[in-house]
């Protein structure tokens, strides 16, 4: 029996009202529901306010360098694919610093679940814009407003090969827990973009803003329909944020396509008869 207490570490240091509180709670609820205790999964915590969850959620974990959590996760999974792998990171890490890893992990359909805390700012470095900031967003690094348009992660993930793409709102804990569980149960690359108000540094994309602009996907949406999914995934460009599973298809994940991985890499015997490799050189 796994309890929330087993999974709960230190008292978090997040600002009061920060979306991370409910995301942290949703992760623990989902793990309890999946009966995953701290010894039965690996969590990759990136750098940022979200990544600081490393000391608040108990698990075998890597607290990685900024932006590299997905790359670490790929290696963790390939070396021991029996353990579920969860990435906890911010929008700066996944869509900015680690954007390349994100694109290519989608392509590889690596069996990992990536939770992206999307608050449009860099909270830990005191509020500069993230790649998700709306055009014109003024911040310390963009005093006259950001010139670039935002990264739109949902269509990006779908078109690059992710097989589970969802969006959640940090303010709706039960739905978020449900989506995390669905993502972790999915075999293949799953990502959940979590709309998260930053109460300290983002006065635009507030709790109220997200409440006003989001809508729940209902049964009329077919996540297996690529065209429909893309259409829905593009809605944020009109400031409409779909909540729920946007896209989900079954495709073999990366490790399932490596013949040698019929058992976890770390459990395989040391192969000793390698001298046969030498004949090609003779």
């Amino acid at each position: 029996m796994v309890t929330a207490q087993d999974l709960t570490g230190y008292q978090p240091t997040w600002c009061s009202g920060c979306g991370n509180w409910s995301i942290g709670r949703a992760i623990i609820n989902s793990l309890v529901e999946q009966k995953l205790d701290p010894s039965s999964l690996v969590v990759l915590f990136d750098i940022g306010c979200s990544g600081n969850m490393n000391d608040f959620v108990n698990a075998y974990a890597m607290h990685t360098l900024h932006g590299r959590s997905i790359a670490n996760a790929v290696g963790v999974k390939l070396a021991n694919h029996q353990l579920p792998v969860l990435v906890v990171a911010g929008d700066g890490a996944i869509y900015g610093e680690g954007g390349n890893h994100f694109l290519h992990a989608c392509r590889g359909n690596h069996d990992i679940t990536v939770l992206v805390h999307d608050n449009s700012v860099y909270g830990l470095t005191t509020g500069q814009v993230s790649p998700r900031a709306q055009k014109g967003h003024k911040s310390k690094s963009t005093p006259t407003g950001i010139i670039e348009t935002p990264v739109y992660p949902l269509p990006l993930a779908i078109t690059q090969g992710a097989t589970f793409v969802a969006q959640a709102f940090a303010g709706n804990l039960p739905e978020l827990s449900k989506l995390i569980t669905a993502g972790m149960k999915h075999t293949g690359f799953s990502m959940i973009n979590i709309l998260q108000p930053c109460v300290t540094f983002n006065k635009i994309n507030t709790f109220q803003y997200y409440l006003k602009h989001q809508y729940q996907l209902d049964s009329s949406h077919d996540p297996a329909d690529y065209q429909q999914a893309l259409e829905v995934a593009n809605k944020p460009k009109e400031e409409k944020f779909p909540i729920g599973i946007i896209y989900q298809v079954d495709k073999p994940s990366y490790h399932e396509q490596i013949p040698a991985l019929n058992q976890p890499l770390i459990n395989q015997p040391h192969r000793e008869n390698l001298v046969n490799l030498l004949t090609q050189f003779q």
Partner: protein, 589 residues
């Protein structure tokens, strides 16, 4: 046949890129080895697939040649450029093979007119098979057996198509017959001088990269990731090709940052992991080297140098990244840098690198350069077989613990904490990139910081005590007046230079460093004595090992032989530099 004894013999071939000189020269190297001889070969080519000029030289000798030589004994010119670029390296008996339809070499050396085009037309063969005619002719000139050429071609093409193999054999045979018909009197007894009988399991002809790849597999490396970069690229190809036999997971990741972080993830999960790159790719990995340092993750990094800065000269050689490698990574943490000097050392030190990475839970860098990475040598079969059966030692890597709570970074007398492979029920911990307490939780506490810094630093002290090796002393250090100091692939050319000097009655010794960082001051200083002339030999412009030696041990070497034109040392260059120094230095005369 001439009866001159001409070993060591240097055969060289040059052609426009895309003409298959790499295939031809590797065939020559293997034919020599199968004839009971040993080889050393080295290729030069620009960073182009077509339109450039490629050359390979193969030095053939009785016992393990360690380097090439300047004077060419046989030059096969598949174009005029080959002749023009190499005529300064001829002696009077150099055999110059050319096609009179292409050009007429102006030389006093021995000309061998080989009608390549005519033979090609007669046999209705593809243009690409020119090189096989040249190979057949070369084997004839070196008094080799044509059946070895046939075998080689069958091995190479037989699986793909018998028709292609047969056409290649026809071409080789035609070149071979032509020489015996027209130039019988010029045939040199080279390949016929091999040791007899030739062992059935002849020496594998391998590049430094291939030895590293084999050795990594033998060391039970289970996860390898890379992004192609000359001169390290071929490792990715070798290991990817062997996956079904080795069971290794080989990843061609999106970039070098992805490469090393995937490897660190696999390492955290408990798999032995390695990456391979050159300077530019290594630069991208550096932040993550530092992560491995603080999180105490084992990782083996193969760094094959080429001339920088930036893109530099991608397909040429240099030792310009030593200080960069030793000092790679922000912050202070232990790191081990090993530098094999030849293929045998590549075998041993690669095996050792994986053990050390596990034992010290820190990055271990294996340094190479294009010269060592891409030159072939005949590697003794039994030596490599024996090395591949060595037991591995993972140090304090554990799969279960009774310690509750488990303290991943517990302080110990040697600085090394037992590292649990994730998965044991009832336990959890993190590989933390932040400073941490013994239990792996993040901290900014001053006292805890000092404990962890000291703990990590102790690993270096332990390494120096237990696993650091002094340089190999080659020659008699007591007797010698001249002492070479060097590292890495210069070993072979210096060994050959010592022989040239010995012939001139100049007695030299050689301190060959393989465990290049960190260095042990107390153990090293006694090797440097006041009454000797020490000469630093490095393939770079600033004498980086000399700087490192001074930094780590206080030893200063004034006299330097440095080369940084993208080319490796020739033994003759080193010998000539020494002769000049001896002439100009009173007490050495």
């Amino acid at each position: 046949m001439t009866n001159q004894a001409t070993l060591p013999f240097l055969w060289k071939i040059g052609a426009p890129a895309g003409q298959g000189v790499m295939v031809t020269s590797l065939a020559m190297s293997k034919i020599a080895t199968r004839s009971g001889l040993d080889i050393f070969d080295y290729s030069e080519y620009p960073s182009l697939i077509q339109g450039g000029h490629n050359t390979v030289e193969v030095l053939i000798n009785l016992d393990q040649p360690t380097a090439s030589k300047q004077l060419i004994d046989c030059l096969v010119c598949l174009d005029e450029k080959t002749f023009l670029h190499h005529q300064h390296r001829f002696h009077k008996d150099t055999l110059v093979v050319f096609d009179p339809k292409q050009f007429e070499p102006k030389t006093k050396s021995t000309k061998i007119a080989l009608p390549l085009q005519e033979i090609l037309v007669d046999l209705k063969a593809d243009r690409i098979m020119l090189n096989m005619i040249a190979l057949g002719a070369s084997v004839a000139l070196l008094d080799g057996e044509i059946k070895l050429v046939h075998q080689m071609i069958t091995d190479q093409f037989g699986k793909k198509s018998a028709a292609v193999a047969n056409k290649n054999i026809e071409c080789a045979q035609a070149g071979f017959d032509y020489v015996w018909q027209q130039y019988q009197e010029l045939v040199k007894p080279v390949l016929s001088r091999g040791k007899k009988p030739v062992p059935t399991l002849s020496s594998p002809v391998m590049t430094g990269n291939e030895v590293f790849s084999f050795s990594a597999a033998a060391a039970d490396c289970r996860f390898f990731a890379a992004y192609p970069m000359t001169p390290a690229s071929s490792i990715l190809g070798s290991l990817a090709g062997w996956q079904s036999q080795t069971g290794m997971v080989v990843r061609h990741a999106e970039d070098e940052i992805g490469v090393i972080n995937e490897a660190l993830g696999a390492s955290f999960s408990g798999a032995r992991a390695a990456v391979a790159t050159s300077g530019g790719g290594f630069a991208l990995m550096v932040e993550s080297i530092s992560y491995a340092g603080i999180a105490e993750l084992p990782i083996v990094v193969f760094l094959s140098q080429r001339p920088g800065p930036a893109t530099g000269m991608p397909t040429w050689t240099e030792q310009g990244d030593l200080l960069f490698a030793c000092h790679a990574g922000h912050g202070e943490f232990p790191k081990i840098v090993l530098a094999p000097g030849d293929h045998k050392e590549m075998l041993d030190l690669t095996l050792k690198a994986f053990d050390l990475a596990d034992q010290y839970q820190t990055p271990v860098i294996v340094m190479s350069d294009k010269f060592l990475s891409e030159s072939h040598r005949s590697v003794d079969y039994l030596t490599i077989k024996k090395a591949s059966q060595m037991k591995i030692d993972r140090g304090k890597t554990i799969t279960s613990t009774n310690q509750k709570p488990y303290l991943r970074y517990t302080n110990t007398s040697d600085g090394i904490s037992p590292r649990l492979i994730p998965g044991q029920p009832g336990i959890f911990y993190q590989a933390n990139s932040y400073e941490h307490f013994a239990d792996s939780h993040t901290t900014e506490d001053a006292a805890a910081r000092i404990v962890q810094v000291d703990k990590r630093t102790k690993k270096q002290t332990t390494y120096l005590k237990k696993d650091f090796h002094l340089p190999q002393v080659i020659g008699d250090l007591e007797q010698a007046k001249i002492v070479f100091v060097s590292w890495g692939g210069n070993k072979g050319p210096i060994e050959a230079a010592r022989n040239l000097l010995a012939a001139k009655k100049i007695n030299s010794a050689f301190l060959h460093f393989t465990h290049v960082f960190p260095l042990d001051e107390q153990k090293i200083r006694p090797l440097f004595k006041a009454d000797k002339q020490y000469l630093l030999v490095e393939n770079n412009a600033t004498g980086q090992f000399g700087q490192l030696l001074r930094q780590q041990t206080g030893v200063t070497i004034e006299e330097k032989i440095l080369k940084y034109d993208g080319r490796p040392f020739y033994p003759e260059e080193i010998a000539a530099a020494v002769t000049t120094i001896v002439k100009n230095t009173k007490h050495l005369k």
